[in-house]
Assembly symmetry: C2
Homo-oligomer: 324 residues x 2
């Protein structure tokens, strides 16, 4: 019995139908090792630039009327915060996003743009959580967590339904893993409908907690995480996510930062996509042959495109990938 | 009576159905003047990185068996050359692309990648045409012209059908104009089905021959063309294209190079799309309010994404657009 059912995901799909972008699956025109046919599911083109919009909108739109009136809160300065702000805006609901005092100006601006109220609290995630809980206590806001949540996972799973429809020949789906929400949703959808399709997770080498957890069979918390892929700097995946990954994910592999950065450059040049480092890890695993797939039809999920312009500039100076 | 009928375009669509990417229409999340709702038709995500694939594949696949056996030829070092090479490859047909002796290495490589034979001839377009004609004479290749051709225009028109389906609320479609193939196809499709939708062409200020032609009612050939938008450096649109534009295009506007470059940066940051300068002119016209549209639902066509990495790096250093 899976934590998230196909029915949950299909309901999320009905809810997202008219608001989420049905992101394209694009043939990768560049060279790919081992003769794989590589397709890209470009969630970087989703609203607010990442898959996070799917889960956030599904979670918020399902709140009972009374909770909707009070508003929602989250504590993420990244893609989830933007997604919550945008989803709440579209639904006409008040949103509060708690950010660290040293949050980057552009991320504050992108979240504020959707009309969210920004609350600054300390520098650590504990500071932010404490402030969020105090605000919940005071105002009765509904908390929208980033990944360890059924409604969030069901929302992300809608990308899995689309993959099967858009590329029915798919033999393996490769997915970035941070907190585990995206791969939990996608793998639940895929294993329910097409158990023959392999699902492979990818983490940066400097933060491979899900890989360690799947391999040891116990939920591992990393003491130290260091990677360029800022969206995947989670030290521990969620409980629901771990339960799902154990049942639905075939393998998790890790890629070094250097390969991630080269892949950001390759995706700009070969696929005309602006991708953030976290969003590029699944493609990197295929291009640098970390998955061992051979001659198969592979879909790599690009999870997000919110990259700092200076970082993207640097990646465009990387030498072109020469894979033969 | 229009040169290209809706039926021609619908036939092209059937021909392209399983090979061309149905490129997404994406909501532009950034700020837009005059309260327009802006949507992007991202042909930069088409095979080979531009809309040119649609026309090239439609033209080549319609050749009689005997001509297909002999192969095809074109004389373009740019997006059309790549598109012809890729379409011929997919159809198992020999392709020859005539390029100038000083063609940029990366463009040669991108064309050769699809198995095309590259012939180098002189430095001018007359040199290339002469070499192409000699090769046609010798080998009986079928010539695939870049824009002044019914099959090419019908192929490009399939993007117009998609726009109407993907954004039925559209009130105005804004399209880059080079030789005029793309806007001829799109405007033919749109005026046949939805004559109430405005179609607006956009050229760079340094090469506004179509604007001059539409305004004077005679086909203007420019003596001098100078713009950063290398794909739109045509000095004269085609005859079929002029006949179509006169009947189906409401207005043509021009944008300066500086606004084009800022828009390339904005599209990377706000829409996570890698776009070449030529591909950005329609979006630039909306963002910089050259179209006069107000409060409308607008679709801007992004025609291509094959930008030199150094150019893209420079555009990412442009100050962020601040439109209020």
């Amino acid at each position: 019995m899976l934590p998230i059912s196909l029915h949950d995901i299909q309901q999320a799909r009905a809810c997202l139908e008219t608001v989420a972008v049905r992101t394209p699956i694009l043939p990768y025109g560049g060279t790919v090792r081992r003769n794989n046919s590589l397709w890209l599911k470009a969630e970087s083109l989703q609203r607010t630039g990442s898959f996070k919009f799917r889960g956030a909108y599904n979670a918020i739109s399902g709140l009972p009327e009374e909770e909707r009136r009070r508003g929602v809160i989250t504590y993420s300065s990244g893609n989830h915060g933007q997604a919550v702000a945008c989803a709440a805006h579209l639904l006409g609901i008040r949103a509060v996003v708690v950010m660290p005092e040293d949050a980057i100006a552009v991320k504050v601006e992108l979240t504020r743009r959707w009309g969210a109220t920004i609350e600054f609290a300390g520098l650590t995630s504990l500071d932010r959580q404490a402030r969020a809980l105090a605000l919940v206590e005071e105002h009765g806001y509904a908390v929208i967590p980033p990944f360890d949540d059924r409604r969030i996972i069901a929302g992300q799973g809608t990308a899995g339904l689309e993959i099967l429809e858009q590329q029915p020949d798919v033999e393996a789906v490769v997915v970035p893993v941070g907190g585990g929400g995206l791969i939990s949703g996608i793998s639940s959808a895929i294993k329910a409908l097409r158990p023959d399709v392999r699902v492979i997770g990818v983490e940066p080498e400097g933060g491979a907690d899900a890989k360690a957890s799947l391999e040891t069979g116990t939920l591992v918390t990393l003491g130290h995480v260091e990677t360029i892929a800022d969206g995947l700097r989670t030290s521990r995946i969620g409980d629901l996510n771990f339960a799902t990954i154990r049942q639905c994910v075939d393998e998790i592999v890790a890629v070094p930062d250097e390969e991630i950065l080269q892949t950001v450059g390759a995706l700009a040049n070969e696929a005309r996509l602006v991708v953030e480092p976290s969003g590029a890890v699944a493609t990197a695993a295929v291009l640098f042959d970390r998955t061992g797939l051979s001659g198969q039809t592979v879909v790599a999920v690009i999870s997000g495109g919110n990259v700092d312009p200076a970082r993207l500039r640097a990646c465009l100076s990387e030498p072109a990938l020469a894979l033969t």
